[in-house]
């Protein structure tokens, strides 16, 4: 068993080093708060600015200006005096009896048992960002099928790109951004299969005024034109299915479009239908969550400062509801000034004066999002699968099994765990939670809001007993297990 990590104490802990976390931590340190930023990745940037300080893709025209914007967050952060705990996975956050929180995290070293450490803070900002929305189609578990986000991470971190026949499928800005970056890098794309239903433009039209005045318009259209000029786009795609070969790896793709069923051989399928907030930590902390009608997902309840339903817990960035990378940094700064007031470092009027600037920038950053959120809303058929389609990737529970249990009267996602073990594998429901909620809602004619979500408990990432045992021992922790000693 390895020894644990030394205990750390700070005033403010920021969890997550994407745009929200970097901006929040940098601003908080600027206001004189003793700040620690803890993050799972070896270097700051989060997913959107992944490997911003080390990417081997040095030609800036490939990843584009929006990616390199991240350097503007990285450099001030590096000068800020914030203590950065990198490569560290937070798996528990508990309120201390006196004040603040005790946070347990682990750092893995290849070839050794992971070591766990404790961190004490008075206030915490969750900046845990987003993950890909589940895209449960037949065959989405086959090797050869990965998310578009995963493919983009391969490009950013290692300049690893697809070869052979590559198809991108789904909807949302990231799909086109990735296609554009591949074209810039000279990587051919066989086709983009758009799952956006034909009538969706009409639903999005009421929001077009905001979009016309938004920063997305010019950039977005330019990017779309560049991709459409060079990649065949198939619109109105439904009944998408990935088919495997004898080794159980991706070999063929089948779909319906224009009233016909098409089939093609391919090497890679990259899937994307938007991103959703990463809520495992906010759930385990017991924060209140709501179902977002517009985005078909859960998001924690926060006020205009990012303050959650639990005192001393603030949330910034996409983890508090999807609004994108630029919005995330402004939300990070708003959360930082709020935390500074909570920690007695700033007074209300000073906070309000500063927040006005961040909020104006935030308003500009989110202008027009309603339009493409509505346009690219993931279609019902791709959120609510049927038949043998795997819903829980870890436990291999299928849509029909979940639906059947719901028809038998299964009361909710938590009872579904007892029936099917779905949500009980190592991903802890991250890739099936939304689908299970929606399938129960579908079968029982209920609203997802009323069906609810998996109860999430600490540890929120799998840890070994050895890691837990490596935690520093205190008098209180010893007393807790030796109570029978006379």
């Amino acid at each position: 068993m390895s020894a644990g990590l030394p205990a750390t104490t700070c005033e403010l802990l920021v969890i997550g080093a994407g745009p929200a976390g970097l901006a929040a931590a940098t601003r908080a340190a600027g206001l004189g708060l003793d700040t620690v930023l803890i993050d799972e990745q070896p270097a700051p940037g989060g997913q959107i600015y992944r490997a911003i300080g080390s990417t081997p893709v040095r030609d800036r025209a490939i990843l584009g200006a929006d990616y390199w914007h991240g350097l503007g967050l990285l450099e001030p952060f590096q000068r800020s005096g914030v203590r950065h705990v990198a490569g560290a996975t937070v798996w528990a956050v508990n309120r201390r009896e006196d004040d603040g929180f005790e946070v347990a995290y682990s750092i893995a070293t290849p070839g050794q048992d992971a070591r766990a450490g404790l961190l004490h803070c008075r206030h915490v900002i969750l900046a845990t960002g987003a993950q890909e929305r589940p895209f449960p189609i037949p065959g989405w578990t086959l090797p050869g099928v990965i998310t578009a986000g995963a493919a983009q991470i391969l490009l950013k971190t290692s300049a690893v790109v697809p070869s052979g026949t590559t198809v991108l499928a789904g909807g949302g800005p990231l799909l086109y951004l990735l296609a554009w970056q591949y074209l810039n890098a000279g990587v051919p794309i066989h086709a983009i299969l758009e799952t956006t239903p034909a009538g969706q433009w009409r639903r999005a039209l009421p929001f077009v005024w905001g979009f016309l005045r938004s920063p997305y318009l010019g950039k977005g259209l330019k990017l779309l034109r560049a991709v459409r000029a060079r990649v065949p786009i198939v619109t109105g795609v439904s009944a998408l299915e990935a088919l495997g070969d004898a080794r159980g790896q991706l070999a063929r793709l089948r779909y319906r479009a224009g009233g016909r069923t098409e089939e093609l051989a391919l090497d890679q399928l990259l899937l994307h239908q938007g991103v959703v907030p990463n809520t495992n930590l906010s759930r385990a902390l017991g924060l209140e969550h709501v179902w977002s009608e517009r985005q078909d997902c859960w998001e924690p309840v926060v006020d205009a400062w990012g303050a959650s339903s639990v005192a001393q817990v603030t949330i910034a960035g996409d983890g508090a509801g999807i609004a994108g990378a630029i919005a995330a940094e402004h939300r990070g700064r708003v959360a930082a000034v709020h935390a500074a007031v909570a920690l007695g470092r700033l007074d209300g009027p000073a906070r309000d004066r500063e927040a006005a600037t961040h909020r104006a920038a935030l308003a500009r950053a989110v202008r027009g999002r309603e339009f493409f959120e509505t346009l690219y809303r993931a279609p019902d058929a791709f959120r609510r699968p049927v038949g043998d389609t795997i819903v829980c990737r870890c436990e291999e529970a299928t849509a029909e099994q979940v639906r059947q249990a719901a028809r038998m009267g299964c009361q909710g996602p938590n009872q579904m765990k007892a029936f099917l073990r779905c949500g009980m594998g190592p991903c802890q429901g991250r890739f099936c939670g939304l689908t299970v909620t929606e399938l129960i809602a579908d079968e029982q004619g209920r609203h997802p809001r009323d069906v609810g979500a998996y109860r999430v408990r600490f540890p929120i990432k799998p840890v070994t007993l050895g890691e837990i045992a490596s935690l520093p021992q205190t008098e209180a922790s010893r007393a807790a297990v030796v109570r029978f000693r006379k």
Binding site: A150, I153, A159, G248, E396
Partner: protein, 101 residues
Amino acid sequence: MFRRLDTPAEAGARVVRITIDDVATDCREGDSVAAALFAAGLPACRDTAVSGAARGPFCMMGVCYDCLVGIDGHANQQACMTRVREGMTVRRQLGAREVGA
């Protein structure tokens, strides 16, 4: 299949040599084990504990746990969250982790 835009040596990056199921594989310093698997043409890295189906890295950000492999004798390691290191041994994981492994 995936490929590298350029070889690590061409790009002037430090080359790190690992073995994947005993086959020597050159990687770029800073690669995750999952990126090294893709670059080596291996999109599948394990067989599931439930049905024995082939699986490989899916999310590349530590969320899906589909990239579990054995690394330096330790099973159930996330390939996407582990960076390659000179001399590292990576093994496909067949089924569940065994006690003591």
